[in-house]
């Protein structure tokens, strides 16, 4: 009898555990009665309504949303443990999202991921809704992955750090070793949190819209001023010195020419050779500059981050 109870207990516990840690693909309905699932301080307008309604509404406690079903249950558990540790340590959220979403450009991926972060309750109790979302778009014709930050996480994960993380997990994502790649991403974000805010953002802060603000300090353009001053002084001195020099050697006798004595016996002009060459020189196309590190999501909240194809 004891054995039967023990077996039943283990079975029920296992089922409970599986239900708790396994990635959920359950979504809830967004409607006016639940403010379309938006509990954050986001103004719902006509322009972002479509984004909100198209964003899957999920339970924000689960952290791993494997709509592409690329993670095993054990992998999800392992990742969830890491995320829980991360959240406890940093006071920032961490979300893993996988889905297959057609897109036209990289920015579509960024908007999809950050809408998911913004229009769900991630980091709702944290300062500036700080957190990170790791998005894997398994869109068959052009897989993509991106790492996007919100709130104070933007200060810790600068452009260089974000690029470094994306590079470091590239091989894992391309070879579909998602546990390794995602674990590495969580570890590296945690590592950079420990390293502190990089010097470029030492005095930066996140404004009310979630954007990074780097205070500008006045730095007198001394080098430019001195170089310009030297140039101007050189020219002025040359002019002043030249004013003191009035003597020159006459090399011509134009004043003494009797114009009516000018006589030409021959004035020939001959085109000796002519040569025309052409070279292909298309107008230079201006680069888009890569889109930058920071961007605003449809919610109006500022984010940072980037991604890779593969």
């Amino acid at each position: 009898m004891k054995k039967i109870f023990k077996l039943l207990f283990v079975t029920v516990l296992s089922m409970l555990l599986l239900n708790v840690v396994s990635a959920s693909t359950k979504t809830m309905e967004r409607n006016s009665s639940n403010n379309y699932g938006v509990k954050k301080d986001i103004i719902i307008t006509e322009s972002n309504m479509n984004n909100i309604l198209n964003t899957k509404y999920v339970n924000a406690n689960e952290k791993i949303y494997d709509f592409s079903d690329i993670l095993t249950d054990s992998e999800e558990r392992e990742l969830k443990n890491k995320i829980d540790n991360f959240i406890e340590k940093t006071g920032m959220d961490f979300v893993i999202l996988t889905d297959s979403v057609p897109y036209y450009n990289d920015h579509d991926n960024a908007i999809y991921a950050t809408d998911f972060y913004d229009y769900n309750d991630f980091a709702i109790d944290y300062k500036n809704y700080s957190g990170v979302i790791l998005f894997r778009n398994t869109y068959e014709s052009d897989p993509y992955y991106g790492l996007y930050t919100t709130g104070d996480a933007q200060l810790y994960i600068s452009y260089e750090r974000s690029e470094s993380i994306l590079d470091d997990i590239y091989d894992s994502f391309v070879s579909k070793k998602y546990l390794a790649g995602m674990s590495k991403a969580i570890d590296e974000v945690a590592y950079y949190y420990d390293a502190g805010i990089p010097s470029e953002y030492e005095e930066a802060y996140i404004d009310e819209n979630g954007n990074i603000v780097v205070p500008e300090h006045y730095e007198p353009p001394l080098l430019v001023a001195i170089l310009t001053g030297l140039f101007a002084t050189g020219i002025s001195t040359k002019v002043m010195v030249s004013k003191n020099k009035m003597v020159y050697k006459a090399k011509e006798a134009n004043e003494y020419l009797k114009v009516d004595t000018v006589k030409y016996n021959r004035q020939d002009t001959r085109l000796v050779s002519t040569n025309t060459v052409s070279h292909y020189d298309p107008p230079s196309s201006s680069s888009s500059g890569g889109g930058g590190h920071s961007f605003g999501g449809s919610s109006g909240i500022g984010h940072s981050g980037g991604g890779r194809h593969g």
Partner: protein
Amino acid sequence: MGDYVRERALDNKCPSCGAPLKYNAKTNNFKCEYCFSEFTLEDLKKYNNASSDENNKEEVKKVEKSKDGKTYVTYLCKNCNAEIIADENTAATFCVYCGSTAILKDKLSGEFAPSKIIPFKKDKSLAIEAFTNLAKGRPLVPKSFTSKENIEKITGVYIPFWLYDIKVSGSLQAKSTSVKTWRSGNYTYTKTDIYAYDVDGEMTYEGVPVDGSSRFENDIMNAIEPFNYNELEKYNHAYLSGFLAEKYDVPKDEAIDDANKRAIKSTTDKMLGDLPNHGVKTVTNNALVPSTIKTEYALLPVWMVNVKYKGEYYTFAMNGQTGEFVGNIPLDKGKAVLYFILILLGVVAVIILISVIVYKVR
């Protein structure tokens, strides 16, 4: 010092009272500063003084002696019998005792007889004004440079000039490269045309002046050109009254090189300039030949002053006919350094100020 015969230097005495006469550049007359009589050149020719036809024809003997390796000539002042010592090139000077003009006629006769002269048209006051105004608009002029002491040294001098009439004739070959670039569609086209020029002709220059005295810097004499030859007069000693004068020591056959070079350069430029313009022309063969049509020896009026500054002499000259004033002014290095620092600090301050304003506005 050996024995020497004393000859009397000519002066220009007032026919009324015997006092020295001076040429007045403003009135073109000769005025006595003592009895205020005024005479024209024609009036004076009636009397036996420097302006007379007789004295303008005859040559006076001179005695020379060597002193300090240079040749000096001693004359006796006609007015006070004092010795007037002049170097071999001085043709007119003053008696240091009575201030009378001393025209050393032997320096202005025979082969040294000028055929033409342009009398002074600008008087000393204008030369003083020009020299005084040197500092205006020239911040690096030393403060003491235009002092009264220096201004008093300004002297009117008749400088010997050779005036050459030169005909330049011959041929000239040149070439030029014309490059045009234009764009059509996605292509840039470059067209390079090479032209050859051949010109043959002649032209004449009248009165190209060359300073005939080695004592004066040619560059300074060049810089006060041109003189207006319409005011050339037949030479007469009387015009030298009140001024210094020099005789030439650079023979006309030697001085003509400068005139020829200038005439050839101008002819080359004129010939090339009269051809169609297809880019910068480079002369490939210059067969222009100058030939002298006529040479005249003339005395031309120049106000001069030599200023000593920090052990060096600086010569300034004003064209006594047109008023053109030239000379190289020494730099006051202290002022130069001061201006350099002030301008540098000023520009730096302005740029910093602008950057602060831009920063505040943003």
